[in-house]
């Protein structure tokens, strides 16, 4: 019995080692190979620091492996509160992006906000070609229960935008504050 267990343990180790070796060799030659240690960046939400992974492949030349950052200037996306979001709206200093579904957008949104419903959006088709990378952008969704505003903010940051803010309390807080709103398909 003891001998049997030893045989199995030794074979388990050999299978695992062989698998690891093949995996590492394949990974180093594959165009879709990935870094062994996951890259991440830190964002602060409600005072808490969170690590957000960056899923990149080794062939992504924009990523500087040594310094763990993209080649272009990357300013971490930040949270923005209602007061500051309203200031941006009133001064016209930021573009608002509504990440909720088109139906919800139609029922009411921040005036001027662009509708980019994440659920209906394919990131491959996604483009904001007319905007400069330093354009201030505020993303929002329904409220604290949704995460689409953060998802989009991090994605925009990843593709090079350097002035991104996510308005976590989103549409609910904006509406409750009695600020202006628009209805319909148009911004």
């Amino acid at each position: 019995m003891r001998r049997k267990i030893l045989i199995i343990v030794s074979r388990v180790m050999r299978i695992v080692i062989v698998s690891c070796v093949i995996a590492l060799v394949f990974n180093s030659f594959s165009p879709k190979g990935i870094p062994l240690i996951t890259r991440y960046r830190k964002i602060t939400i409600r005072g808490n620091e969170l690590k957000v992974p960056i899923f990149i492949v080794n062939s992504d030349r924009n990523f500087d492996n040594k310094n763990r950052q993209f080649g272009f200037a990357m300013h971490p996306a930040e949270e923005i509160n209602l007061k500051d979001a309203f200031k941006c709206f009133a001064n016209g200093t930021a573009i608002f992006i509504d990440t909720r579904t088109s139906d919800r957008y139609r029922l009411g949104h921040i005036p001027g906000a662009i509708s980019l419903p994440i659920e209906e959006l394919s990131f491959e088709e996604f483009s904001l070609e007319n905007l400069g990378l330093d354009q201030k952008i505020v993303t929002y969704c329904d409220g604290e229960e949704c995460s689409e505003s953060i998802d989009l903010a991090l994605y925009l940051e990843e593709i090079g935008f350097s002035n991104i803010y996510f308005f976590i309390s989103g549409w609910q807080e904006w509406k409750n504050a009695g600020y202006q709103s628009s209805e319909g398909d148009k911004p």
Partner: protein, 147 residues
């Protein structure tokens, strides 16, 4: 005698089914490890730093087990690892369901339209677990497999 033959046929059938299943399940993940790392991340159980290494190794272990089962090499050991991995997947999925996570399973393909973690997936994994345990006990009971 007849029942022995029947059990032998069942054993071969289970071995081939599990072998193909695991080989098939590994392909998508091997080709696109970054995408698989993202699926693993959504389970929220691993430290972020380890996501990539796990996403790299698991599919290859699955693939090697698939091959060893298909070729009939070290069946008892392969079945043992397979049942351990499957048990781990079951626990992982039950914990995801308990935490109310509505996430992609990442079980067989990485198709975004693919299936989400659900009780159906847990039951499927129970069958795989049962199959691999059956293989393990069948194989350890046969002396020639020890050689």
């Amino acid at each position: 005698m007849k029942s022995n033959k029947f059990i032998l046929i069942i054993t071969y059938a289970v071995r081939f089914i599990l072998g193909f299943l695991f080989l098939y399940a590994s392909i998508d993940k091997m080709i696109n490890p970054a995408r698989f790392a993202e699926v693993v991340y959504h389970y929220r159980v691993l430290p972020i730093e380890l996501l990539n290494i796990v996403a790299l190794l698991v599919p290859w272990i699955e693939a090697v087990l698939g091959v060893t089962l298909l070729l009939g090499i070290w069946v008892e050991t392969s079945a043992f690892i397979l049942s351990s991995i499957t048990l781990f997947f079951i626990v992982l999925m039950i914990s995801a369901i308990a935490r109310g996570l509505n996430i992609e399973c990442g079980c067989f393909t990485l198709d975004p339209e693919g299936s989400l973690v659900s009780w159906k997936r847990v039951i499927e994994d129970f069958f795989i677990f049962a199959g691999s345990m059956f293989l393990f006990f069948r194989a350890t009971g046969r002396k020639q497999l020890e050689k």
